[in-house]
C-alpha cells in the first residue's frame, strides 16, 4: 500500500490538531495575499493617477527657437529616434472663448481626463459650459467649429480636444512630446539633444522617481511583514510533525518491521507536511482573496481588484507555502527514518 494514504489518514484522524496547524499557514498565506495584493493594487492605482508623469524624458521647444511649439519637421525628427518609445504628444495653445482666455489641450490619453458628464471628444470646463457652451452646443476654436461632447472636473479652465484635432488646428505643431527611453534616461536625453535641434530635453523629475521607488519599496516591505506571518505558520508545521512522529513511534516501527524502507517512511512524513501546507495555503488564498475584496470595497477601489489578486501572487503563495512545509517536514522525517525498530516496537 502507498504510505501517502496513511498521511491523508493521519491528517483526518487528528482533525483539531491538523486544523490548528493549518490555521498558521492559512493566516500566513492570507496575510501575504491581502498585504501584497493591496500594495500591488495601490501601486497600480498610483501609477494610473500619476500617469502623466510616467515618462522618462519630455521634449519641448527650446527658448532659443523663439516659439512655444515645435514645427512638424522637428516633430518628425523626434519620431525617427530609435532609442525612445511609447511616444505621446500634446498640442496646447490659448484661445479666446467669448471674452475669456482658455487653454486648449490636445490629449491622446482620455483616461487621465476626468470627465464628469458626457463622453470624450470636445470636453469643456463647467464654467465655460455655464456660459452657453453645454453638451451639444457649438464652440469655435481658431475658425474650427466643434461640438461640445462632455464636461470635465478641473481647477483651471481648459478645453480638452483630441490631439489629432488640436494638431490640425495649429498646422501640425506640437508643444511637448513625452517618451520612455531605452536605457538610462540621462544618456538618451543627451543623445536626443545632439540629434534634434531647437529643443530642450528634460528627464523625469527626481520627485516622481522617488515616489515610484517608494511604491516599489512598500511592496517589498509588505512582503516581508507578511512573510513573518507565514514563518510562524511554518514553525507550527515543524512542531506538529515532530509531535506526530514521536506519537507514532510504534506505528513507524511496525512499518519498518513489515518491510518499508527508510526512504519510504521519510517520504510519507514529507508528503504529510506538504499536504498540510497545500491544503492550508489553498484555504489561505481563498481567505486572502475574500479579504482583498473586503479591502477593495472599503477603499472604494474595486476597479483595481484584478490587480490586487494577480495570478503570480495566488500561484506563488500556494507553491511557496507548500514547498516551505515540505522543508519543515525534513527534520521530523529524518527523526522518523532513524528510529531503531526494536526500541520503537517496545514503545507503547
Amino acid at each position: 500500500m502507498n504510505l501517502n494514504k496513511l498521511a491523508f489518514n493521519n491528517i483526518r484522524r487528528r482533525k483539531l490538531r491538523s486544523i490548528l496547524t493549518m490555521l498558521g499557514i492559512i493566516i500566513g498565506v492570507a496575510t501575504i495575499v491581502v498585504l501584497v495584493g493591496t500594495t500591488a493594487g495601490a501601486t497600480t492605482a498610483l501609477k494610473d493617477e500619476t500617469n502623466e508623469y510616467m515618462y522618462d524624458i519630455i521634449i519641448s521647444p527650446s527658448v532659443s527657437s523663439g516659439s512655444y511649439m515645435m514645427d512638424p519637421e522637428t516633430v518628425s525628427q523626434v519620431y525617427k529616434l530609435s532609442n525612445i518609445y511609447d511616444i505621446k504628444e500634446t498640442s496646447t495653445f490659448q484661445e479666446y472663448i467669448g471674452t475669456e482666455i482658455v487653454t486648449v489641450v490636445g490629449t491622446q490619453d482620455w483616461k487621465s481626463v476626468e470627465i464628469k458628464k458626457g463622453s470624450p471628444g470636445v470636453v469643456v470646463d463647467q464654467s465655460i459650459a455655464d456660459k452657453g457652451y453645454g453638451i451639444g452646443s457649438k464652440i469655435t476654436i481658431k475658425d474650427q467649429e466643434l461640438t461640445v461632447t462632455g464636461i470635465v472636473d478641473a481647477d483651471s479652465t481648459p478645453v480638452y480636444v483630441d490631439q489629432s484635432v488640436a494638431k490640425k488646428i495649429v498646422d501640425g505643431k506640437v508643444s511637448a512630446i513625452s517618451a520612455q527611453t531605452k536605457g538610462d534616461p540621462k544618456t538618451v536625453a543627451q543623445d536626443v539633444r545632439k540629434q534634434v535641434e531647437g529643443i530642450t530635453v528634460e528627464t523625469k523629475s527626481q520627485k516622481v522617481a522617488e515616489v515610484q521607488e517608494m511604491t516599489n519599496k512598500s511592496l517589498l516591505f509588505a512582503g516581508i511583514i507578511a512573510s513573518i506571518a507565514l514563518l510562524v505558520g511554518i514553525i507550527s508545521v515543524i512542531n506538529t510533525m515532530l509531535i506526530s512522529v514521536m506519537e507514532r513511534t510504534k506505528e513507524l516501527g511496525i512499518l519498518k518491521a513489515i518491510g518499508f524502507t527508510n526512504w519510504e517512511i521519510k517520504g510519507s512524513v514529507l508528503f504529510e507536511s506538504g499536504l498540510l501546507g497545500f491544503i492550508g495555503s489553498v484555504l489561505g488564498v481563498i481567505l486572502g482573496v475574500l479579504g482583498s475584496i473586503a479591502v477593495a470595497n472599503m477603499l472604494e477601489f474595486t476597479e483595481y481588484l484584478p490587480m490586487m489578486t494577480p495570478w503570480w501572487l495566488i500561484i506563488g503563495s500556494i507553491v511557496g507555502a507548500t514547498l516551505l512545509c515540505v522543508l519543515a517536514g525534513l527534520y521530523p522525517a529524518m527523526r522518523a527514518s532513524k528510529l531503531n525498530v526494536v526500541e520503537a516496537l517496545r514503545n507503547e
Binding site: E251, L255, A257, G259
Partner: protein, 224 residues
Amino acid sequence: MNNYILEFKDVWKTYHMGEEKINALAGLNLGLENGSFTAVMGPSGSGKSTFLHVAGILDMPDQGVFRINGKETSKLSVKEQARLRRDEIGFIFQRFNLMSQLTALENVMLPMLNEDSSKAREILDRMGLQGKYDKRPSQLSGGEQQRVAIARALINEPSIILADEPTGELDSKNAHSIMKVLRDLNQEDGVSIVVVTHNPTSAQVADHIIHMGDGQIVNGNYIS
C-alpha cells in the same frame, strides 16, 4: 549446500546497561531447516527476543554470521534489509501491532506493492474473517486481530514467519486456534515458522522445541 532458512554461526549480541554488559546472544549456533516449525522457549532474559530480532533483520549481530535463506544480513544495505523483510519475512507480534486507523483489509494490504485487494480478501477468508474486511482493529476480538496480523504476515508470500509470543494476549481457546492456523500454514504451504513463546501448550504444536538460556541453546538443533 545446506538447506537452512535461518543459520546462526557463533553470533554475539551485547547490550550495555550502564556499567553492566549483557550478552543477549553469546555465541549462538543454530540452523533451522527450510519448512520447519520451531518453538523457542526460555526464561526472560534468555535471549529469545534478541534471537528473533536478529532473525527478522530488525537487529544486527555484533559478531558472528547470520544468514537467512543463505543471505548474510550484515552484508546487505539498509534498503536491501528492508526489502528482504518485506519479501521473505512475515512478523507476528504479541500485541498484534495492527494500524488502528486502518480496516482489517487495509491492514493486510499495507505491505503490498499493488492495490489489488482480491488476494488480501482471499487470505482473510482463509483466516475465517469473511465479512469483517471493513472492521477496524478496535471492533475485533483479540483472536480476530491476531488472524488479521497473520494475514498481513502472509500477504507477500514469505518463506518464513517469525512470531513473538503470538498467543500471549489470548485466552486458551483462541491461543489454540491461532497455533492451529500456524500449524496448517506450515503443513499446507510449507512456510517455515519460528514461534517464541512462554506457553508450553502453544509450543507443543511445533515440530521441535528449542530451549534458550544465557544467550545460547540449552538443547535443540546445534550446528556441529
